[in-house]
Amino acid sequence: MVGPGRICRCAPPRATPAMNCRAEVLEVSVEGRQVEEAMLAVLHTVLLHRSTGKFHYKKEGTYSIGTVGTQDVDCDFIDFAYVRVSSEELDRALRKAVGEFKDALRNSGSDGMGQISLEFYQKKKSRWPFPDECIPWELWTIKVNVVNLANEQERQICREKVGEKLCEKIINIVEITDSLGTSVTTTMRRLIKDTLAL
């Protein structure tokens, strides 16, 4: 089965990603209370592009794919809105990870720099006694720079500026996804074929 994305918090990306693993890095500068929403916006956008409906395997080797619903999310601390997959479980998992990331950022010190990564990998079953193999095929890293603002006016400007920046990030993600499109589709096709062959 195509593996779910795994979120690595505050950790450097794998030193030696697998040969076919694509790595993308995005950078954002936000104020402290914008960290969560900015991370959620970016991660949800990536996941929207990488989510698929549930696979139902039927007889005669056919299968059907479920439907992915979407919903709009408005940010409270940023002048920004984004679309995410309609899945409460996914949202919860992301929020938990992003919340821990935010806490770690806060406790780590005053430099306010950190990064969070979202990794897509394939789980390959191995024969006993070897453990299952996890082969990453795509890695998204978001580098965060937390700024401190002095007054409300600056915060208001920050709301708008970060909103504009996030718009650019979404466009970046879409461009990346489009450019990777064919190869990812091929990868995913191969993965599904592998899965079905088991």
Binding site: L48, S64, Q71, V83, I173, M188
Partner: protein, 547 residues
């Protein structure tokens, strides 16, 4: 050449492209409805869940899209375009975005239609969902309502970008290669949101309300009509559009084997943000320069009935007809004249410069803000030939509103919704709400001094009532301290006399006198200052005692 493509593949591909085009239009229009969209994920696909995405089909939108396509598919030189524009309550419109679905000749013969192309199209739709939220028009569309609405128009053929103004930007949503060509989806959007009108406003009698089913000065006479991006979904408008399931074109790909069925979507119901015609805010809009051009309102069946905003309420700033597209004000009419909306180019030509004829002897800064605040009187004298600029506001709960210069009686104008027109003066006098019968209690001792010059005698009413209170039952209105209740108090105090310093003539004179040294006038400002300076030691001593 597509001889390599099997006929089944070709049929599938055509079907995919057709439904992709329809879904693209749905996503774009729904993203401009002004509301948050929410659809449910489902593990069991239904026949209309094309591309494994839950995108609701609004029947009217599908109908318009099919009409525009007219059985054709996007091909080289034949693009499907969705134009998103903004229309203000005054009738000015501005193109915001053009979404283009194009096809070029670059073919990818190797690609598998039934799987890869389908999934790539699905991915492209997801990208479209994301991108539609990041262009500037999204935020505008979320705030549409009283002051402006967002309209869409679908056309097929050559892309027309000239209406976007200079320096528009383009964002590419994505591409999908197919054996017959490469599909590209992109958006060109305006970045210069300063509202520029190319028309001079003409003298035309005011028309009650605006029916939004016409173009104004469209550059392409053959263009299709615009439709609002907010309307009542599910309302019975007399026209029934076949939903996707009714037709035989359900999504049956080789992956999905479940039979078509009703799909259930949780979508927030699109509703009007402008109030229905029986509004408490009734705005008589001077339709200047709204020269309805030749456009035949060639609307589709039933589409004229579908929720066009019939009456625009609120938000008209008479002094600034080039109302800038700022954040839409909620709750109706701002007092006139108001401060320029955020971002308004105050140096734009304004219709009404109230203080044209007044010159201060001192160098008062003649910024727009200053002149406006001073000219809060009802005599908004317009030196310009726009005497017909009358705005009559009728509000449920009053606010201070400028008295119109010429109150046109509506009786001699053959207009729709005449029953909502403001009553004549006599009628107002007879209105018991405006002039309630004298209460048996003693009238307020303050009453006499509060009435403006024109009206006398009547306890509460005014012949110069700027607004009519239809109903006023203040809560908790009984007060033990004062001998009157809140309602009476309100009515009595609702029309205080003009402050003398704000009246233009007196104000100008006294200001002039104040600033000019005139020994004959004992209380001119310079003289007062001189007196104060003489007594400065006394004042200093006083201040010392306070510390």
């Amino acid at each position: 050449m597509d001889t390599d493509l099997s006929s089944q593949d070709r049929k599938d591909l055509d079907k995919f492209i057709k439904f992709f085009a329809l879904k693209t239009v749905q996503v774009i229009v729904q993203a401009r409805l002004g509301e948050k969209i929410c659809t449910r994920s489902s593990s069991s696909p239904t026949g209309s869940d094309w591309f494994n995405l839950a995108i609701k089909d609004i029947p009217e939108v599908t109908h318009e899209a099919k009409k525009a396509l007219a059985g054709q598919l996007p091909a080289v030189g034949r693009s499907m375009c969705v134009e998103i524009s903004l229309k203000t309550s005054e009738g000015d419109s501005m193109e915001l975005e053009i979404w283009c679905l194009e096809m070029n000749e670059k073919c990818d013969k190797e690609i598998k239609v039934s799987y890869t192309v389908y999934n790539r199209l699905s991915l492209l739709l997801k990208s479209l969902l994301a991108i539609t939220r990041v262009t500037p028009a999204y935020r505008l569309s979320r705030k549409q309502g009283h002051e402006y609405v967002i309209l869409y128009r679908i056309y097929f053929g050559e892309v027309q970008l000239s209406g976007l103004g200079e320096g528009f930007q383009t964002v590419r949503v994505g591409t999908v290669g197919t054996p017959v060509g490469t599909i590209t989806l992109s958006c060109a959007y305006r970045i210069n949101l300063a509202f520029m009108s190319t028309r001079q406003f003409e003298r035309t009698p005011p028309i009650m309300g605006i029916i939004i089913d016409h173009f104004v000065d469209r550059p392409y006479p053959s263009s299709s009509p615009m439709h609002p991006c907010n309307y009542r979904a599910g309302e019975d408008n007399g026209a029934v559009y076949p939903s996707v399931e009714d037709s035989q074109e359900v999504c049956t790909t080789s992956f999905s084997t479940s039979p078509p069925s009703q799909c259930v979507f949780t979508v927030t119901k699109a509703h009007f943000q402008t109030p229905p015609p029986v509004v408490t805010d009734t705005l008589k809009v001077p339709v200047m320069g709204l020269a309805f051009s030749h456009q035949p309102a060639a609307l589709g069946v039933g589409s004229a009935d579908t929720g066009y905003p019939v009456l625009f309420a609120g938000g008209l700033n008479a002094a600034h007809p080039h109302q800038l597209i700022g954040p839409g004000k909620e709750g109706g009419v701002p007092p006139i004249p108001s401060q320029p909306a955020h971002g308004t180019q105050a140096d734009q030509e304004r219709m009404c410069t109230p203080l044209d004829g007044v010159h201060y002897s001192a160098a008062t800064p003649s910024s727009s803000e200053d002149t406006e605040t001073v000219s809060n009187s009802s005599e908004g004298k317009c030196g310009s030939p726009h005497d017909l600029l009358e705005t009559i506001f009728i509000r449920k709960v009053g606010a201070f509103v400028n008295k119109p210069i010429n109150q046109v009686t509506m009786a001699n104008l053959d207009i729709p919704f005449a029953m909502f027109a403001p009553k004549n003066v006599e009628l107002e006098d007879n209105d018991p709400m405006v002039n309630p019968p004298d209460s048996p209690e003693t009238e307020s001792p303050l009453q006499g001094s509060l009435h403006s010059e024109g009206s006398s005698g009547s306890s509460t009413g005014n012949t110069h009532d700027d607004f009519v209170m239809i109903d006023f039952k203040p809560a908790f209105s009984k007060d033990d301290i004062l001998p009157m209740d809140l309602g009476t108090f309100y009515r009595e105090f609702q029309n205080p006399p003009q402050l003398s310093s704000l009246s233009i003539d007196i104000g100008a004179q006294s200001m002039a006198e104040d600033l000019v040294w005139n020994p004959d006038i004992s209380d001119s400002l310079p003289e007062k200052l001189a007196v104060h300076e003489k007594n400065v030691k006394e004042f200093d001593a006083f201040v010392e005692t306070l510390q």
